[in-house]
Symmetry: C2
Subunit: 501 residues, 2 copies
């Protein structure tokens, strides 16, 4: 079936884009909230976001949408109608998956979950400030009960599966356990062997105090990576983020201030990596899963690849350091390539995920993933989380957090209702390493070109291999198609071994 | 009937606020389009605006809305149900008026008008560039035919009435003709007598080239006027504007660059005057007509009052000029109060409305109003507009525009579908002068306080008299209630006579 105007396929694309516009408007209102909105408008903005999200959900579950979808696939199974080409069949399947999730969760449950997690987030802020898990406990209990309800309505081999599926379509506990399990021993070994490696550079980590210089540097870096500033913006916010409103309107932010210059550069690489993915989606299919990130894990790979694999490598800094020194001549006088690499390749195990190095980071995620599964099945009662956290932390990181603030209260995810989200961070590391290994194999000149600053060689490869396909295949399959192998921990471990031993 | 939770009144307020959020989201997307949006996103943004506006219209005309409204008034007549208090009855009437307009215009007509005026605007840009009215003519003919259709569906004593009513609820040709007619002779006389009065100040009109200095000055001025920056923003755009997304989120802009410093200060006074009105609306009734500007004329009065009556007065500059000189010490060295007033009080009749002085400005509007009425009735065929414009211009301004670009092609309004809009500019002058006269009468110390920079004396009075009432009464009645007199041209003429003779 071709996409001719007025045809069934065209009708579904239109309905999907129409629904997607409300989601896009909500993302846009969130972007404004973090970057531009006057502080007094918080209440009105929360109401606006609720209205836009509800309108999006209403469009996806409207009878007209089901009718349009039914013309392309069997509404009970999601099986595409005979005669569809491969691309169209993928679109039908992808749209059906989203529709099927939306219609299985009753509006009341969605609304109660939103309300409960909003209250839980307020409680979390308080609990974290006082380092007292008891303040969060009843909220988290309610939230988990709602998540279990949702999981049982959505169904899956493991109750964790449908929660994970929201962020990583097609991924399951059965596939994830061996994949992540393979990391545990080698990462622990690398961390123990490398503990104390590297040294912090003072000039690189003290606040730089010259925002225009950093802004100019960042804009030039983003452009060099292939970010199109006529289809995007760079701003500042308290927490850096990236948002894609449309392939022609992708925005990312840097942290308002306080960080050292190196953290800001790594943040720019990370967030710009996300935005390049969004700019590279196919506008012709916008609104459908053919123009949507394949999974959060794959999205995260697109940022971590730039931040860690490129941004902590010697060839990258061979070209970039002189430019950075020119932007901050006084601050960085006398800082050499060795100083930069020693700063970037430190291994310093600690209790806090956001301060973790490249080696121990994934261990922080394994800890959360193992607890999360037991929280969802009920094997781990909420009241026992602090003890379980301490035990897992000792097992995986070799240390016990000094308090709950730096332990089980450090992340916003659980109280925000994002349960099943954490594994996507490790998948990002794995996918990224796999894709990068394949890219390097196909591009023998890469190190030399990277040292000349030719960053778009990588962007163009990612455009071809990842961006333009959207959700045509599940992320794991897309990664398999690109490097010709199953998702695996090996390329990631090989990268870490070569850099850290 | 009190507004108790779950009651009929509360239900209608909720439905109205829900609908209003889509309108607010569209205004927000427009603000972003003019200030922040990357240029490549224009196409996606137009689609987003269409979706949001359609969603707003759909909410207003949904059966649920009619049901909620029907609990408070007779849906056929708009007559409030017995037992409502005065405030609630006004709300019911106001909401009914908006609903009644929306439901009388079929979706097809609204959509075709939007499409036609979008095409007409493109044609206008081209026609204006080439100074060739023939390019616009067929578009304007189609647009007028659609406007006549709308007018006949809405009904009114004069076909122009329902078009005017969209911008100035309750105003009619029968009331407007004598009001504006009374201006013609006296303004012509003032213009003839004062022609050549004043002198342009070079330093005041050359581009200033120091944006941070102007930004700081503007922020301080806006704060001094009572603008709450925790509930608003000031940015820059190609054409200055103000938008109220919610009383807690009011934003205005200055022109990006190119203007002289005095134009920018007058623009700040003008746009901030609009934003103060929006910040002063009652958040408790947000979404309803009790928390909506009474009319565009009244909105315009809130800006013109600051720009012209305050901002071109000697006491204002007695306090402000030293501050402005401090902000631009080199540019304004040696510029005194007399120079500023001579610059501001020039009378220079010319063909272009946007360059007009305070005296001749309203004559430009009379010209448009008289042609518009005949265009709507069909008495003036579109092909004859250029000749009619020239004749009216000679009659009212004593000159004929050198070409159509500076004649009947100078304004965006007609091609944009805003027919019936122009009179609100003069009404703004009249209402503003009337309110200001009353304010001064009640505040004998005003000139002295103005000369000390105590601007919020006026803001507080406007808050009490205008802002907080929203659309509780029609604008003309609100003006009457405040000064205790019918809308009249006299205070405006008295002001001009005292300043310009």
């Amino acid at each position: 079936m071709r996409r001719k105007k007025g045809g069934a396929l065209d009708a579904l694309v239109r309905l999907s884009a129409e629904a997607r516009r409300f989601e896009s408007a909500a993302h846009f209102a969130e972007w404004d909230q973090e970057t531009m909105m006057p502080p007094g408008a918080a209440g009105a903005r929360a109401d606006l976001l609720g209205t836009l999200q509800a309108a999006h959900h209403a469009r996806l579950t409207a009878p007209a949408y089901a009718k349009g979808l039914g013309a392309l696939c069997d509404l009970r199974s999601g099986e595409p109608r005979p005669g569809l080409g491969a691309l169209e069949a993928s679109l039908a399947r992808g749209q059906w998956r989203r529709w099927n999730r939306a219609r299985r969760l009753p509006g009341g449950l969605v609304e109660e979950t939103a309300r409960t997690s909003s209250a839980a987030q307020h409680a979390w802020v308080d609990a974290r400030r006082k380092s007292d898990f008891r303040i969060l406990r009843p909220h988290l209990e309610r939230l988990l009960a709602l998540k279990r309800q949702a999981a049982s309505r959505l169904g899956g081999a493991h109750p964790y599966d449908p929660l994970l599926d929201e962020y990583e379509p097609g991924m399951t506990v059965a596939r994830l356990d061996p994949l992540l399990g393979a990391l545990k021993a080698p990462l622990g070994e690398l961390a123990r062997a490398g503990k104390g490696r590297g040294r912090a550079g003072k000039a690189l980590s003290t606040p730089y105090g010259d925002e225009p210089a950093l802004d100019a540097f960042t804009r030039e870096l983003a452009s060099a990576m292939g970010f199109d500033l006529s289809r995007g913006r760079i701003d500042r916010s308290a927490h850096p983020f990236s948002t894609g409103l449309h392939p022609t309107d992708c925005r990312f932010t840097l942290r308002i201030s306080g960080d050292g210059v190196m953290t800001q550069v790594l943040t720019a690489l990370h967030e710009c990596g996300h935005s390049l993915y969004e700019q590279g989606l196919d506008p012709a299919w916008w609104g459908t899963t053919l123009s949507r990130h394949a999974s959060l894990g794959l999205h995260e790979s697109m940022s971590r690849l730039w931040e860690n694999l490129v941004g902590k490598s010697a060839p990258f800094w061979r070209h970039r350091l002189p430019l950075l020194r020119r932007a901050f001549p006084r601050l960085l006088a006398g800082v050499g390539l060795d100083d930069v690499l020693a700063h970037l390749h430190r291994i310093t195990p600690g209790p806090v995920r956001l301060e973790a190095d490249e080696v121990t980071y994934s261990l922080h995620i394994l800890l959360r993933y193992e607890l999360e599964k037991d929280m969802v099945t009920g094997k781990l009662p909420v009241k026992d989380i602090p003890d379980a956290w301490a035990a897992k932390s000792r097992e995986l990181l070799g240390l016990v957090p000094p308090d709950d603030r730096r332990g089980c209260l450090q992340d916003v995810h659980w109280s925000g209702g994002s349960i099943g989200y954490f594994p996507t961070y490790v998948l990002g590391n794995l996918y990224g390493a796999q894709l990068y290994a394949k890219f390097k194999e196909e591009t023998p000149s890469w190190d030399a070109r990277l040292a000349r600053g030719e960053l778009t060689v990588l962007t163009r490869w990612l455009q071809r291999t990842v961006y333009r396909h959207g959700r045509r295949w599940p992320a794991a399959e897309l990664v398999r198609r690109a490097p010709g192998a199953e998702p695996s921990a090996e390329p990631f471990l090989a990268h870490l071994r070569s850099r850290y031993t």
